[in-house]
Subunit: 345 residues, 2 copies
């Protein structure tokens, strides 16, 4: 507004979100976005369309916040898609145009999309000795039957309040089948912990929940994933944040998380049969070599693990532990690792 009153070309300053402005912060141990900004001008043929889109998304966010409702990023796109009056041009051609504009706004305002009343995809479940409040309803995570509490996309303090917690740590599990095994065995009751699964790469809600559980309740976070490049990547995203969402690392990343397993070392230590290991393919080998160079995999123990995997030539999934018996993971492997505090950094 003030720019228009001063008869200037209206513009918005946005953090540069390309790789050139992203770095690993060794103090906070998080992937962070730098200080570089770019200007998006209204009166610039190359910028006008994006400027218009940014204004549309921002004003729609204001509208839904004022109405006190929330919506999805897909609905946001549909609510804004239209042909501009007097022109043949559409405001947006596809959601791939509105999503990055929203990320621009999140980074410019330093706000999560959930705070802009937009919901991301959700997945993941939690069980354990904790009582919480979800939009006014009291949820006892120790009485959620076989399914657990479904983690919503928005877990900000205004939506999810932690009321009581008797857990001593959090176990984040890559796979839902393993989570179900541990839930059935009441692992969380025996070990006084919260068990969470992200069903693969955790959604934002799940990552934010872990961040809050650690920062507000001071619970240690242990990550249980496959011994393969994808499992190790999932761990790194929980720990350092991701390049894509670097501007949110302080709220989505938990640098103090520890990796409990699986590792290729476990194969010999727990006598896992070579029948259930899987041969590394070329993509895996390439990925491991890349990971060896990442700052966050520089600690000695990780370098050893990655080199050991390359040398052994195999990876393995959590289900491989089932070859030692169905309850081996809940009765032997995990209690043993936790007792010995045998984690990767």
């Amino acid at each position: 507004m003030s720019q228009i009153q001063r008869k200037e070309n209206p513009s918005i300053a946005l953090p540069v979100r390309s790789l050139s402005n992203i770095y690993f912060d060794p103090v906070h141990k998080l992937i962070k976005i730098g200080d570089k900004k770019s200007q998006r001008h209204y009166l610039n043929v190359g910028h006008t369309r994006k400027f218009m889109q940014t204004m549309l998304v921002a004003s729609e966010c204001k509208k839904i916040i004022d109405q006190g409702v929330t919506t999805s990023i897909r609905d946001l796109y549909y609510a804004l898609k239209r042909t501009i009056e007097g022109a043949k041009e559409n405001t947006f051609e596809g959601q791939e145009e509105s999503d990055p504009v929203l990320e621009d706004l999140e980074s410019a305002l330093n706000l999560l999309r959930e705070e802009l009343h937009l919901k991301a995809d959700r997945k993941g479940y939690m069980a354990g000795p904790m009582i919480l409040e979800d939009t006014g309803d009291r949820i006892n995570c120790a009485r959620m039957g076989s399914s657990g509490w479904a983690i919503p996309s928005d877990v900000e303090p205004g939506i999810i309040r932690f009321l009581e917690c008797n857990a001593k740590f959090v176990l984040l599990i890559e796979k839902d089948a393993v989570w179900q095994r541990l839930n059935e065995d009441k692992f969380w009751k025996i070990q006084h912990c919260l068990i969470i699964t992200g069903k693969g790469q955790p959604a934002r809600g799940c990552r934010r929940l872990i961040n809050r559980l650690h920062n507000e309740l001071h619970l240690p976070i242990y990550v249980l994933a496959d011994a393969d490049p994808w499992g190790y990547y999932i761990y790194s995203v929980i720990k350092q944040g991701s390049i894509n969402l670097s501007f949110l690392s302080d709220r989505l990343g938990t640098p103090e998380a520890r990796f409990i397993g699986l590792t290729t070392k476990d194969v010999t230590e727990y006598g896992i049969s070579s029948n259930v290991t899987i041969k590394l393919n070329k993509g895996d080998q390439k990925r491991i070599k890349e990971m060896l160079k990442y700052v966050w995999f520089k600690p000695k123990d990780w370098q050893q693990e990655l080199r050991r995997m390359l040398k052994a030539g195999y990876k393995l999934e959590l289900e491989a532990l089932s070859s030692k018996g169905i309850k081996f993971i809940s009765e032997k492997y995990l209690p043993d690792k936790i007792r010995r505090q045998d984690f990767l950094p």
Copy 2:
């Protein structure tokens, strides 16, 4: 055993699960499997491996049932994978070998895998005026906050018991974002219904739950999906069952389900802008032409809808309704359709 004692070649009779033995039952309005059986012999070079695998899976199922535990089909595979002593052959090379054997067993025994203590992938959520019991825990689906009750993979009466229900119908919603919209607007409270999302094609647990809600509590089932071939296919699977799981149609299918929307007719009836429709691609057109021939899309109203879609040349997603306002779906579209009982058969 008796075959061995009689010194016969041991064999198992299995229902033929290929298309040649699958038909649409016009009385029950379900996709069913026929009476054709095939014999799987131990002493037949072409059968021996599969015979051995069938026995292994069956005996592992017996073991986990005896132990009173459940497991996943992936864990089942890992628990059984090994090199056969004295040979270089593995029992299973991959899960793609153990999964079909399990389906053979399900169809031969006429039992759900959940009854064999095996868990399928789970997804989907439910909210509304219902109290149920899940493995001993009391769950009030009207007090589940923003996330709803997560539907487990096993919803058999031994696991999930319906305690109290004040719902008048069930609304099954293809998309979670729409479910979240309706949950936020407390649609289930205003309309006295259960709202369920399957997050795309519903998993077995979700389909079985709908079947139970209809058959045991006599609740009408309304399906809300995209106006596209995929949305209409989702509806048909809920209604008639699927070809793959034809041997389970009576427990997974609900022939009395009705389709509430979206339809291409809605575009004119509710004045939806052409900006938010999506052009049919060649795959869509081919699919619609196939669907026109299916027995279960033969009713006049479906033929009209499919032909209208072909002629109009577009499809549309549920989110298209957001172009009329964020609460249009919960405050206008759905109440209107339900009041007028405007469903496709």
